[in-house]
């Protein structure tokens, strides 16, 4: 029984933090009309190798667990690092690794380990129709994270998942609440793909849970950053002749934020471990993590704006970037109320006693 980061995980975290401090921040991306910094991405892939963390060693990756991935994403979430890291590892790698055949994994995971970006399109109305020895894909996928740039697309249809090249699809960025994480609409206009493009796996829910867990890890990092930024500000900002951090109302708001951050972190760490070892309560643990981390990030970011006063409401400040990402992330991969409903069903509708 040891519920703490290992020394290796701590080293990974510290290295990630140091590296990320060198990358361009989220404002740069927002001002560049949502384009990722290609140099930053190549350093993430090349120097840090983070896209390899979850890829099994057989397929050219490191074969680490979600816990290591969570540690890195917590840091990326903290700095709002603009890059296709989340979509590639949490959606692309997870979908292919969970749903793909060995051959498909060998091909696509190796490509990702080598720097390709990937994502998952599972919302919308894409259908697959048999067409001789292949398939025709039609319809629209919506709210696809990094869908306008991903090189490898996994698309979910009525006939399961298919992997297609990103540039084979009509795709367009859609204006999103979170300016640091592009969303896109993809149109499939009878796109013909071979039967080999179809992934044999059917467990989309597991992919979404795994991705939700990793999003929750990012959210914990984001929540902690707004807390840190806010505490720092309240120590220097003076009103009525003293630092506002000495006012009890400000202290209480910050204390509430800390409770949210540390609770969400406990939930995320445990869920990562539970999924990695296949614990029986892994699903409920992930739902708990995503619900609590989403709520924590949103509430912390909201408090941060409030405690910053007017300055927190300005475009130049980091608060609103966190706030927007927090609310957008809440809407992705299951809103908190959706996860609570699933937990309620497990508690209330079954005959078996929950523990």
């Amino acid at each position: 029984m040891k519920f703490a980061l290992s020394d290796e995980q701590i080293s990974l975290r510290d290295a990630a933090r140091a590296f990320l401090a060198e990358l361009p921040g989220p404002h740069a991306m927002t001002e560049q009309d949502g384009a990722y910094n290609a140099d930053a991405w190549s350093r993430i892939v090349g120097e840090q190798g983070w896209t390899s963390i979850l890829i099994p060693a057989d397929h050219g990756g490191w074969g680490f667990g979600r816990m290591e991935m969570a540690v890195v994403l917590e840091e990326a979430g903290r700095k709002l690092t603009p890059s296709p890291l989340f979509s590639t590892v949490a959606l692309g790698v997870t979908a292919i690794d969970t749903l793909g055949s060995d051959a498909q994994k060998a091909e696509h995971l190796a490509a990702i380990a080598g720097g390709a970006t990937a994502t998952l399109a599972d919302q919308g109305s894409v259908t697959a129709q048999r067409d001789g020895d292949g398939w025709l894909l039609s319809g629209e996928a919506v709210r696809v994270i990094d869908g306008d740039t991903a090189e490898i697309l996994v698309v979910w249809t009525n006939a399961g998942a298919f992997v297609v090249p990103g540039d084979a699809v009509q795709r367009a960025r859609v204006p999103g609440l979170d300016t640091t994480r592009p969303l896109a609409t993809l149109r499939f206009d009878g796109l013909r793909v071979s039967d080999e493009a179809r992934l044999p796996g059917a467990d989309l829910e597991r992919v979404r849970l795994s991705a939700g867990l990793l999003l929750a890890a990012e959210q914990v990092g984001g929540a902690e950053d707004v807390l840190d930024v806010t505490v720092d500000y309240t120590k220097v900002r003076k009103q009525f002749g003293k630092p506002i951090g000495s006012f009890q109302a400000i202290q209480h708001a910050c204390a509430d934020m800390l409770v949210l951050v540390e609770s969400a972190r406990s939930a995320v760490w445990y869920a990562a471990w539970a999924m990695d070892v296949g614990a029986p309560d892994a699903e409920l643990a992930v739902r708990t993590a995503k619900a609590l981390a989403s709520d924590a990030y949103f509430r912390c970011a909201g408090s941060a704006i409030q405690l910053h006063g007017g300055i927190g409401f300005t475009w130049e400040h980091v608060c609103h970037l966190h706030f927007k990402r927090a609310r957008a992330g809440m809407a992705l991969l299951g809103e908190p109320s959706v996860h609570r409903a699933a937990v309620a069903a497990a508690m209330l509708d079954g005959d078996s006693a929950w523990t």
């Binding site: 009103q239 409030q306 927190g312 300005t314 130049e316 400040h317 927007k324 809407a331």
Partner: protein
């Protein structure tokens, strides 16, 4: 206790409604629903033209006394006007600082010459005013302001910086609080200056907000000047003048705001019906709760007005700002929950711009006294708790 309007008041309501229906047409029609808080930088020139149209119709200075050139309308008439104005979705007023703040202050504290010079152009909508109170280091603590004005012959020379100044980009005049006294500190030695914006010593830098709009500006005074007779109230005694202005009972205005809120809630209900969120029990519960609190917001405002008629400032008047700001923020949060997964995606069109509502309402609990400051004031002033 009588919550109904008199026959005369209903006639007045009809007059307002008819006038708005006849004038909010042509070029003005597209201003409907625009220019409110969170959207103040939209169609500014057109809204100034609309201000002038209102002036020609005799609808500016409704609350001003007849001696000041106003209509001397009763509080109930003001309520009716504002409710009808909001129901018709007439645009956010470009002249609200002049009409609501500068005009009443000049009327109360100004010289005859100041009244003669400044009141009429406000009523006509030909001079737009902005308010130079807040500073970077004087937010909730206004008395920490640092802008300084020094006497130089027949002029005051002004140096300093104001912030969160709405409409500064289009205003001809700014109502500036500055330190003029030698040993000035906190509430002492402050004067209220009327300062022209179109002069070399004044620089306006718009502030981009998290909504992406730039409704406010920083205003830098770097040797700007104004004649010595452009001080309202006593030199070095401006704090009371400024406080009077802030305390100047917004009176009926909150009721107009509530009519705007009703429009917003109705739009949200329509979205919920359209996307199916109206079938979600949790959403239903929260929509009903917001509806209840909106109703009560209006009722408490009417209680305040009735007490005002008696010359009282009742304690329930002190909850107004906290109540509406919190309500509005809750509405913004609920709007996102109504959108569900679509909360992540911005939608086209102003009328259904729930995201703008969501983002803008974060400022409601901050400006004009944060929620925290409001609660302090309620505790200390309404409940008599120790400072």
């Amino acid at each position: 206790m009588d919550m109904s309007f008199s026959a005369e008041e209903e006639l007045f309501r009809e007059e307002v409604r008819t006038w708005l229906g006849e004038h909010l047409v042509g070029d003005f029609a597209r201003l409907r629903g625009r220019g409110g808080l969170g959207d103040m930088d939209a169609f500014v020139e057109e809204r100034i033209a609309w201000e002038q149209e209102l002036g020609r119709g005799g609808w500016t200075g409704l609350a001003w006394s007849k001696e000041s050139g106003g209509r001397g309308a009763s509080l109930v008439e003001q309520v009716i006007f504002l409710e009808e104005y909001a129901r018709s979705r007439a645009p956010g007023r470009a002249g609200h600082i002049g009409e609501g703040l500068l005009g009443p202050t000049v009327a109360a504290f100004g010289t005859d010459a100041q009244k003669a010079r400044f009141l009429a152009p406000i009523l006509a909508g030909t001079e737009i005013w902005c308010q130079g109170y807040s500073e970077p280091n004087a937010g909730s603590d206004l008395a920490a302001l640092q802008t300084r004005a020094v006497r130089d012959g027949d002029n005051w020379v002004i140096d300093g910086q104001k912030v969160w100044t709405s409409l500064a980009m289009v205003s001809q005049w700014c109502f500036v609080l500055a330190r003029t006294g030698a040993g000035s500190s906190r509430h002492e030695g402050i004067s209220c200056l009327l300062v022209r914006m179109d002069q070399p010593g004044v620089r306006v830098v718009p502030i981009r907000q998290m909504t992406g709009n730039a409704e406010f500006a920083e205003v830098f005074f770097d040797g700007a000047t104004t004649p010595v007779d452009h001080v309202v109230g006593p030199v070095d005694g401006g704090w009371k003048v400024a406080m009077h202005t802030l305390a100047h009972e917004r009176g009926a205005s909150t009721l107009g705001q509530q009519a705007d809120f009703t429009n917003e809630l109705r739009a949200l209900v329509q979205v919920a019906k359209d996307n199916g969120a109206a079938n979600d029990p949790g959403i239903r519960d929260r929509l009903a709760e917001l509806w209840m609190r909106l109703k009560v917001m209006r009722l408490t405002a009417l209680r305040t007005l009735s007490a005002h008629d008696r010359g009282e400032l009742p304690r329930e008047a002190m909850i107004t700002k906290l109540f509406w700001a919190t309500w509005h923020r809750d509405l913004g949060e609920l709007a996102m929950d109504v959108l569900g997964p679509d909360a992540a995606v911005l939608r086209e069109g102003h009328d259904h711009d729930l995201h703008r509502l969501f983002l803008w309402t974060r400022s409601d609990t901050i400006y004009a006294g944060t929620n925290e400051i409001q609660k302090n004031l309620i505790a200390q002033r309404a409940l008599g708790m120790p400072r």
